[in-house]
């Protein structure tokens, strides 16, 4: 099993979710994070202009079986892309075990 951590633009979330659905990935968790990266945003507050590299992003955590990794990554890669600096990153992290709380069962079946 692998955990796929994707950091994407918020405005791309709906498209990414649809793309995931299309490849039968229905289960995941997400939350909002602040991303520090290449992209910068200009701000102005009471006459003080400032630019910030802190951008609101959405963090998706998706645990999938090994044979689903590529298809999931590719779905995100294409749906989350705008081509502009700041599109985000995807990381793949090993997962040793998974449990479904409702039933107590463990292993790859819990991800369906």
């Amino acid at each position: 099993m692998k955990k796929i951590e994707a950091i994407i633009r918020k405005s791309k979330f709906d498209e990414v979710r649809d793309a995931l659905h299309d490849v039968n990935v229905y289960f995941f968790s997400y939350w909002d994070v602040t991303g520090v990266g290449h992209e910068k945003k200009e701000h102005l507050y009471r006459g003080v202009a400032y630019s910030s590299s802190d951008i609101q992003r959405r963090f998706l955590s998706i645990v999938v079986n090994d044979d689903f990794v590529d298809v999931t990554v590719n779905a995100i890669l294409s749906a989350a892309k705008t081509g502009e600096v700041g599109d985000g990153k995807i990381f793949v992290v090993p997962v040793e075990q998974a449990y479904r709380i409702r039933t107590g069962e463990s292993g790859g079946l819990t991800l369906k």
Partner: protein, 416 residues
């Protein structure tokens, strides 16, 4: 009666009413930001601040004289329209003898009317929220508040032809609310719906407002403001009339809210606070045309029916794929028309003839509002466009037009 004192007392009530109508702008602001998404909050507040400020200044230099002309040219266009603009100051020798009728002074009159004028534009502002270009909206609202609103107002309140025909609109169900509502309707039709409001199959989707407590506070503030809006429209502190008007106004509001809620509950088995809120506003707009003509029971009826109309109108707009985030068209146009017609159905003036006059008034004013809006919007669309870019809309208008100022800097938000 002691005329100086009479003037003083009447004027006092009018000034208080003016203050209350001014305060409605906080109510509108709260309502509008509460029912929309946080990413457009600064933009909406900016619009409201602009409208109240520009509205007052504009009304001082153009609108007031246009609306209350000394006389009419061919009965439709006030002759000031082809004459002089600008607020004259009928100052006496001391520079301060400003009273000009028994009810109130020149200045009170101006300020009270000026607050009304700004209201009409604010109605539009709510409907077009979250996607309209700021500059285009400003242009539109300046034209509309500067010219159309006072022109229409002059037909009735300025002593024009509708007044002569016997059209009745006590505090402006039509002259203020429908005039705003028609423009809102046309504007959202031209603008199109917000991204995501309708699914690909055309089914309406919910875009929940981000701060319902603000919206609720807005409604209560508006209700309070209506004490001045209707109460001040008596144009004197006449104890019987003013207190009757406050009573009918409050009961219509209460009945509107209860009726809307009950009606929604029948369908959805659910207590829908936002519909309660819109129902109250519907009750208030409904009673505005005849607040001084209704008994308690009639006020409850007029308001209650208004509440149901709002619910139906919201559903109708959804079906027509018109997107009005705050329900401005349903409230101000839907029940504005209803309230005006109700004067011919309920209350002291009820009669078939009156109903017809009301209908004609509603129709002519509707034509004028729709026509002028259409012209303004078409021209503005040609020149600057009405709507922001797709990316700007997704990002939120606060980012693009307001230097990325965020309404709630310390809060962690969901964006959608």
């Amino acid at each position: 009666m002691d005329t100086t004192l009479t003037l003083t007392v009447n004027n006092l009530w009018m000034m208080i009413s003016t203050a209350l109508v001014f305060f409605m702008h906080l109510g509108f602001s709260f309502l509008e930001i509460g029912l929309t998404r946080q990413k457009n909050t600064i933009n909406i507040l900016f619009k409201n601040f602009f409208i109240i400020s520009m509205g007052l200044v504009l009304y001082a230099f153009v609108g007031f004289n246009l609306m209350y002309p000394a006389s009419f040219w061919n009965g439709i266009l006030p002759d000031y329209f082809v004459g002089l603009f600008g607020l004259e100051s009928p100052m006496g020798e001391t520079g301060l003898d400003l009273s000009y009728n028994e009810g109130y002074t020149y200045w009170t009159d101006f300020l009270f009317q000026g607050m009304f004028a700004a209201t009409a534009a604010t109605i539009v502002s709510g409907a077009i929220a979250e996607r309209a270009k700021l500059g285009s909206f400003f242009t539109f609202s300046m034209l509309y508040v500067g010219i159309v609103y006072p022109l229409i107002g002059s037909w009735k309140w300025g002593g024009g032809f509708l007044d002569e025909w016997g059209f009745y609109d006590f505090a402006g169900s039509t002259l203020v609310h429908s005039v705003g509502g028609w423009a809102a309707l046309l504007y959202i039709a031209k603008l199109g719906a917000r991204i995501g409001k309708f699914s690909k199959e055309g089914k309406p989707r919910a875009i929940p407002g981000h701060n319902i407590p603000f919206a609720a506070a807005g409604v209560l503030i508006l209700w309070l403001g209506w004490f001045g809006f209707n109460g001040g429209s008596v144009l004197s502190a006449d104890p019987g009339l003013t207190s009757l008007v406050l009573t009918t106004t409050s009961l219509a509001a209460a009945a509107g809210g209860l009726a809307a809620t009950g009606f929604v509950h029948l369908y959805y088995k659910n207590f829908d606070l936002t519909m309660f809120m819109n129902g109250i506003l519907g009750g208030l707009v409904s009673i505005t045309a005849g607040a001084d003509q209704m008994s308690v029971m009639e006020a409850v009826l007029v308001g209650g029916i208004g509440g149901v109309i709002v619910v139906l109108a919201v559903a109708l707009l959804d079906r027509l794929k018109l997107d009005d985030p705050v329900g401005a068209v349903a409230v101000h146009l839907g029940t504005g028309i209803w309230g005006t017609l109700a004067v011919g159905i309920f209350g002291n003036m009820a009669s078939w003839d009156q109903f017809l006059v009301q209908l004609i008034g509603v129709g002519l004013i509707g034509l004028m509002s729709v026509g002028s809006s259409w012209i303004f919007l078409t021209v503005i669309q040609k020149i600057w466009g009405l709507r922001v870019d797709r990316a700007e809309e997704l990002d939120g208008l606060d980012q693009a037009e307001h230097g990325g100022m965020t309404a709630y800097a310390d809060f962690r938000m969901n964006q959608h």
